[in-house]
């Protein structure tokens, strides 16, 4: 089903309630291969609910329909020197698809944020308001179209990361931010994971205002690990902060400068997760940064490939071994692990989302029923 108006979305959901069907909401479908297979569900394709509704750069707000391609949204705001503030990445290639297929609705509903999430906030932090059709078949609005608002519950927070399980978003208002005119990266080679995480913590705790921090282990970088720190802003400021970071890195070896195209290429590779391309199972592990080394120490001897983003707060692991090992390592480090890429049989057996504590699971279930009492969106995917 590919509705073209909000009314058609309502009708589709109302029909599903009546017939007892379940609906699998799809934006660009680029992440369709995440989660358990769901042969019985009807696809509710929202790619035709598209287009920009309003964009006022001076107000920092953009109102857009969910089926709008991410690439189109990014081009629009780039023209006015701005960016989608949570730095979404392009997952297409890593899941065996093409780049540029993601929709803004899919990216927000999946709560996918890139390297700059560390300093600039995630999808959750930049979704200001929405219109949606609930699993009751009713249209509602929540949040607002201004950057500062506390009127009523912050339901947009639930939308970011809802993954099609609460409601079909038909319009969303995002906060956008200026795009920094200059970006530069300073790196140091040869650190082990624990030393790299300590260095990244020191950099994040310094006054150099680090925008992104990542670590490529030796196995992914021609036999020599690389700790990367990215600085963004106005020219004079970036130059001054680069000097601060070079001093910090100096204690660990010669600082490598990646400027201009080199800087862009380095972070673009992380944006598509190119170093972990292939068809090994892919896990996304969110942990407190200091917990990152323990996660990979447990799994590296078993043949995993991995890298750190978010100063260690995000660990990407390509690993075909036992899923329980990844989940246990994530739990032990105080975080959670999501299965992003896996063969169908494994996805049928292992839940994509990290199982929550029983009390939280029950609460999540009640919140889902608050939006979707009949379970129209319960496809069994997650």
């Amino acid at each position: 089903m590919r509705p073209t108006t909000e009314q058609e979305v309502r009708d589709a959901i109302a029909d599903a309630i009546r017939s007892g069907a379940t609906l699998d909401i799809k934006g660009g479908g680029s992440k369709a291969a995440i989660g358990a297979p769901r042969p019985e569900a009807t696809v509710l394709d929202l790619s035709a609910i598209a287009g920009v509704v309003d964009y006022d750069p001076a107000e920092l707000v953009l109102t857009v329909r969910p089926g709008t391609p991410l690439a189109e949204v990014e081009a629009l705001v780039a023209e006015r020197g701005q960016r989608v503030a949570f730095d979404p990445f392009d997952h297409g290639p890593i899941l065996g698809g093409t780049a540029g297929a993601a929709t803004i609705g899919g990216v927000v509903a999946a709560g996918v944020s890139g390297s700059l999430r560390l300093s600039g906030g995630g999808a959750r932090d930049h979704l200001l308001g929405l219109r949606a059709v609930s699993g009751r078949g009713e249209v509602f609005v929540a949040g607002a179209k201004v950057v500062k608002n506390v009127t009523g519950y912050d339901l947009p927070k639930l939308a970011a990361g809802s993954r099609g399980r609460l409601f079909a978003i038909t319009e969303m208002t995002l906060k956008v931010l200026p795009r920094a005119p200059i970006a530069a990266t300073r790196a140091v080679a040869g650190l082990d994971p624990a030393a790299a995480v300590r260095l990244m913590a020191a950099a994040m705790g310094s006054q150099a205002e680090v925008g992104a921090a990542a670590y490529l282990p030796a196995a992914l970088n021609h036999g020599q690990s690389l700790t990367l720190l990215r600085l963004l802003g106005f020219g004079p400021s970036v130059a001054a902060r680069c000097r601060m970071i070079e001093t910090l890195l100096g204690a660990h070896g010669a600082a490598v400068a990646l400027d201009g195209d080199e800087d862009t290429a380095c972070w673009a590779a992380l944006r598509t997760l190119a170093p972990l391309a292939g068809d090994t199972c892919l896990w996304r592990v969110n942990v407190p940064p200091s917990g990152a080394p323990s996660v990979v120490t447990a799994l590296e001897p078993l043949g995993s490939r991995w890298l750190f983003d978010w100063a260690g707060g995000l660990v990407w692991i390509a690993f075909d071994g036992d899923a329980a090992l990844v989940r246990n390592a994530a739990t032990a480090a105080g975080g959670h692990a999501m299965l992003i890429r896996a063969p169908e049989a494994l996805r049928a057996a292992v839940p994509a989302l990290h199982p929550p504590a029983p009390g939280v699971a029950a609460l999540e279930e009640r919140v889902r029923r608050a939006f979707d009492p009949a379970g129209v969106f319960e496809t069994g995917r997650f």
Binding site: A58, V141, V150, K157, S237, P289, R366
Partner: protein, 497 residues
């Protein structure tokens, strides 16, 4: 007072002695207050026009006690109102005559600071400023900085999603909280979020922040801490009109600059502030902007030049840039004292808190001037200009019959105006009881019903902080009923108060 609260239940009032005794079994000693003198300090919060002594106050010291109190009240059908420091400006902590007031003042410890992961774990009764004080020796701070920061609690900040003058650049509470421990009305204890970014499943933490004490009682908070910027400089800029000041703000932001703070004051606010603190604010301008830039020295200096250029292009008539810390603080002194300064020129004032799309500012101030004439009450404006958050201060005299009512009616008209131009009823102070009855001006029936269904997922009996935020008390069973055929959700004889 003009506002109705839910009718106290006679059956609950009749059991008061038994309720007090049961609470004393859970929280021994001085942790239960039941005598009239002891209750009086709790009868209102920062919205002092509304007063109501609670049935009883309980001040637990442990999460386990909070859980037991809530479970007992849940089982016995007794309402509970959580309270932090009682500085809410929307009456969020206003007690109920038949309700238990659950104060978190004894939860006053900073439990842990982790500089590697850049976070602090604190109890909810810790004041906002105390978090910064706990980490500043190591060069860190907690970014959200409500003006009430010496008094307000982190638990209250979480409940209200509080902001401050720096939230344009550094975010509101919601952007700076990683996790909470929450006790739900039935006594169940859950942990939402943690010490990492982003939830595994639904972002329940995100909806708890800003829920005004209606979803659960927060008993522990994990906040992010940030390194203090190397420095900060401020500009004090006068404009001949509100339009030109507003255009300057828009051009700064469209020019790619997000200042650490950007505040505007109108003529009356400038005059009141200057008369009070005498820091040299220009008195021949219609609008005054304070723009603060922070970061490394090179950044501050560069941006001072950029903003100066933009201000001059917009016809600024006076402009000074701070050369040292003392001067920067002097620029802020008038703005920070704006409320008490207005308090000197008027016996009482009533602080409003709407947000508008900034481009509508001249329009909105013009209409506000008309309303001021209509109601015969003055209004001074201070304004978080960067994010469009207005704080009109309505001047009135509570001792003059009818003036409070007129001030409230004036305030409601201002908030309706904010909504009419595409803005919202509240930018940071919350709905509470104050704006409760205005909610239908911003939200439709289904919008409010959907929010209340989320409330039902946390508190199906509706016992936690009832009478706040929602103008109509729906029963959860009624809200849950489905009407598949298009048409109106029926709303039979629901209690409206």
């Amino acid at each position: 007072m003009t506002l109705k609260m839910p009718q106290p239940e006679a059956a609950v009032l009749a059991r008061r002695a038994a309720i007090v005794a049961a609470l004393r079994r859970i929280v021994p000693g001085e942790g239960v207050i039941a005598d009239p003198d002891g209750l009086r300090p709790f009868e209102s919060d920062g919205l002092t026009a509304y007063r109501q002594p609670p049935m009883v106050v309980v001040l637990p010291e442990t999460t386990e006690q909070v859980s037991q109190v809530l479970r007992w009240c849940h089982d016995e059908g007794v309402k509970v109102v959580p309270r932090g420091s009682g500085t809410s400006l929307s009456g969020g902590a206003l007690p109920l005559a038949d309700g238990v007031l659950l104060g978190l003042s004894k939860f006053n410890r900073v439990l842990e600071v982790d500089y590697d992961d850049r976070l602090a774990v604190v109890q909810p009764g810790v004041t906002n400023l105390a978090v910064t004080q706990a980490v500043e020796a190591r060069g860190f701070y907690y970014a959200p900085d409500p003006s009430s920061q010496i008094a307000c609690s982190i638990g209250g900040n979480v409940a209200e999603n509080s902001g401050g003058v720096h939230c344009l650049k550094y975010g509101l509470t919601t952007n700076n909280v990683l996790g909470v421990e929450l006790v739900m009305m039935d006594g169940e204890i859950v942990r939402l979020g943690g010490r990492h970014l982003d939830a595994a499943g639904l972002d329940l933490l995100g909806v708890v922040v800003g829920s005004e004490g209606l979803l659960g009682v927060v008993t522990e908070v994990t906040v992010r801490i940030l390194p203090k910027p190397e420095g900060a400089r401020a500009l004090l800029i006068g404009f001949p009109s509100v339009e030109s000041a507003g255009q300057c703000v828009a051009d700064v932001i469209a020019g790619g600059i997000i200042p650490a703070g950007m505040e505007m004051m109108d003529r009356l606010a400038i005059e009141a502030a200057e008369a009070f603190v005498k820091v040299g604010y220009p008195l021949d301008v219609d609008a005054l902007l304070i723009v603060e830039l922070d970061g490394v020295g090179a950044e501050c200096d560069h941006l001072i030049d950029e903003v100066t250029r933009i201000a001059e292009a917009n016809g600024s008539t006076t402009l000074s840039a701070s050369r040292d810390e003392a001067e920067r603080l002097a620029f802020w002194a008038g703005r920070k004292a704006a409320f008490p300064a207005v308090g000197r020129i008027s016996p009482d004032y009533y602080c409003m808190d709407g947000t508008i799309p900034r481009r509508r500012l001249p329009d909105v101030l013009e209409r506000m001037a008309q309303l001021s004439a209509k109601y015969g009450l003055g209004v001074a404006n201070v304004f978080h200009a960067g994010d469009g958050n207005l704080h009109p201060l309505i001047l009135y005299d509570a001792n003059k019959p009818g003036e409070l009512d007129r001030a409230e009616a004036f305030g409601s008209d201002i908030l309706r105006l904010c909504v009419e131009v595409g803005g919202v009823l509240t930018g940071e102070h919350g709905v509470g009881v104050e704006k409760r009855d205005l909610m239908p001006d911003m939200f439709g029936e289904e919008d409010l019903a959907q929010q209340q269904r989320v409330k039902c997922a946390f508190d199906p009996k509706g016992l936690l902080n009832p009478g706040k935020v929602f103008p109509t008390l729906h029963r959860c069973a009624e809200l849950g009923r489905m009407h598949i055929h298009r048409g109106q959700v029926p709303h039979p004889d629901l209690p409206r108060f």
